[in-house]
Each structure stands twice: as structure tokens, then as C-alpha cells.
Symmetry: C2
Subunit: 233 residues, 2 copies
Amino acid sequence: MKPSDELVAALEEAGSAQERFEIMYDTLRDRISVSDYPPGTRLSEEALAAEFGVSRSPLRKALKILEADGLLQSVQGVGTIVTDVDLDELTQVYQLRMELNELVGRLSPKHPDETTLALFEDIRKRAEALRSAPDMKIFARLNIDFFHVFVRLTDNQPLVEVSERLFYQTCRIWLKMIPMMDLAEEVAIFAGEIAAITDAVRLGDTEAAGHIRRAHLSMGFARLKGHARRHTL
Amino acid sequence: MKPSDELVAALEEAGSAQERFEIMYDTLRDRISVSDYPPGTRLSEEALAAEFGVSRSPLRKALKILEADGLLQSVQGVGTIVTDVDLDELTQVYQLRMELNELVGRLSPKHPDETTLALFEDIRKRAEALRSAPDMKIFARLNIDFFHVFVRLTDNQPLVEVSERLFYQTCRIWLKMIPMMDLAEEVAIFAGEIAAITDAVRLGDTEAAGHIRRAHLSMGFARLKGHARRHTL
DNA sequence: TAGGATTTGTGCGTATGTATT
DNA sequence: TAATACATACGCACAAATCCT
């Protein structure tokens, strides 16, 4: 991986072990989620520790948590491997995520403040820009960022945490399946979803936002399933 | 803590690191959940490692995951402390758990097999026995065991995992509040819940079981709130 | 089949931070 | 305020497991 001076700098000026852990954890999760580390990648504890400028011990903590999250798997004598995502195994996760997204609109819905509204508008602009120049990696990044903005609609922190966990378990499926699908079309659909949800949010109808999100999650999964079937036949 | 020969034996004959981790993780989580380690307890890595017959390194992994679960908090220079449970902070978790329990009956409900039915009946018997001789610790253990039997009603594994995570975040609140409440009454109510749910399960009405569970979760939380208010006034 | 290279798991000593006297 | 005790965080060396030649 790249040397990334600012990353090492951030780690050096991090005061507590907790902060250093979060930087390494977020960095690794992000790299996995945007396919800098595609499924099957073998990560070396030693190499990562060297890159981050720390010893193996603190790095291992981040790897262990990511293993508990289902994104990595450590095997003695082999290495730390980025897990694969399988559409069939994600069926149940998707069903649960659909319900949870509806709950975002129903459980402690928060009337969006100025900041949140601005974030939604920013995402919408980025989605429109992406529409003009579809790109898989930017699509993946937008998907992640949109998730984090969307969960701002609820004040229920446990719901946010659970949703995040499940989101990161599923989001890589798009990176895996998009090559068999029509990227431009998917980007357009996603931009439409973002626009619709942003409109709902602006109207203060958080519950509607949740329902739209749920519907798109359902349709998205159906499209994934359809393409997978078409591809195997 | 007690020497517990069989625990050490199980750890010794565990083949993989993964198995050893799970034994230590489950053991510690259980001890925290039944108040062998009450909130505020300072756990010593060294002492635990000695008790388990391992070095501090593998033990630390279990502690790190329990910290991620919200049951422990490690502070350098101080120790590893069992977190406290606060009723107000659990409000959101309870709201989410209520919804999730309903989902157990709606998402991939499983028609209970013979084994599951037998487990429910066993829990019911234990609840009746407890009714004759109320005991806080046995109550806590029954609550935990019932949870694990209940989630057998769904085939949705992610739902089970998420529910488990949230359950262990909340279940200690009863150990904290019961001393201010009427143990015998709470045991009787719990026995009633178990009987009702077992009946629903025997009829094959998993959805009804989910609704009953949801209702009791809601009422239980209301009683906790009521007693907390009464106690602070 | 055997052995060497490589990887994670483990054990332990040291650094660093906290609380108490 | 300073010193001491003690806890976790960290670094490193070795053990154990796996893979490849």
C-alpha cells in the first residue's frame, strides 16, 4: 500500500491508544470496502504495522475487530485474508437491513438540522456529477458516504451501530457484481434514490425517507439476484 | 475467581486458537452477565491469564472484543473495568430490541423442531421451579438461557447475532434493579411470559411468539422505569 | 516426502500512564 | 509535590501451523 505520510502523521499525533486504534480500524475497513483490498487479499501484519509505523500488537487489535465484523479472517500459518462476499449468504442480511432502514424513519426520527441537510445536498450533487462520468470506485465511495449521512436521520444510536455493521457486511457486493451489470444504469438509479430521499428529508418527512430507502434496498437486491442468475445460466 | 479445573481442561484440549478464544470469551461474558463480575469490577489481565492457563496475549483478544461489545472498558494505567448499565441509556436499545423481537417472528420464521420444543418446555419447567423459590442469580441465568432458545425461532442468522449483541448489553439491568423491586413478582411475570410464548410456539404460531415477547419487553422496561423513578423520588 | 520460507499465535519483558501515599 | 506501586499498551522473539518447492 502507499506510504501515505498524512496517515502516519495522524497516527503519531494521536494521543491515546483508542485514537490510534480507530484510525487503523477505519483505514483498513475503508480499504476493504472500496476494494483497495479485494476479497481474497492476504494482508501481512508485519507490512501493515510497518506502513502505520506501529508494532504488530496494536495493529492486531484492529485486525481482530475486523475479523469479528466478518471482513477479515486470520488463519495461523496462512495469513489474514479479506473475506469474500456471497450474494446468497447476504439474502438474510439484506432482509434485516430493509427492516432496519424503515426503523430509521420510525425510531427516534430526528428533524434534520442545517448541517444534515447540507450533507444530503452535497451527496446529491456528487451523485449528479457521477452520473455524467460513471466510475465504479467513486460509486462505491458515494454509497458509503450516503449511508453515513442517511443514519443521521435517527437519534437511536444502537440502531446506527447495528446498521453500520450490516452495511459494511454487504456494500462490497456491488463492487463484485457491477462488472456484470450496467454501471451507468446503476449510477442513474442510485442518483434517483438519493434525489428522492433528499427531497423527503427536506420536507421533514423522515419516515418517507426510510420507506424509500427500504424500497430501493429491496429493488437493488432483486437486480443483483437477477444479474447473478443471468450470469450463471 | 475459582480455579475451575474443567475450564482449564477445556482450554487445554481446545485445538485451535479460535476455540480457545471462544471459551474465554463466553466464560467472561457469562460472568459479567450473571454479576460474578458486577459493574465497576476491575479485572486483571494477569490474574485471568493465570486462571485460564494462557498468556496475556490471547486473553487480551477476548477482552478487546468484549470492550467492542460494550461490556468492558480498558484504560491504560487503571485496568479493565466492567461497564455500568444505566437505565436511561438503555432506552434506545430497548426500543430497538422490541422491534427486533417482532422481526424474529416475521423474518424467516422457523417451524420449531422437536429439539427446540423440548428446550422451550425445559425452560418453562425451570421457570415454574424458580417461582417456588425465587433467586436472583437463577433468574438471571434463566433469562439468558431463554433468550438463546427464543432466537431459535428464526433462521435469520444476522438477526440472531444482532439480537444477541443487544441482549447482553441490556440483561444486566435486571440484576441492578431487582433489589429495588419485588423479585417474586418479577419471577412470576417472567414465568407467565415463558408459558405464553411456549404455548404459541407449540401451536406453531411463531409470529405470535414474537409479539408476546415484544409486549413483555415493553412492559418490563416500563416497570423498570417506574421503579427507578419511585426510587429516586 | 521432506524441508525451508512465511505467516499468525503466544509468551514475556519493557514503556507508559494512573492513582495513591 | 514527588515517589512508589500497579495497570494496560507496546515491542520483540520464539512457537506452531501452513504452503510451496
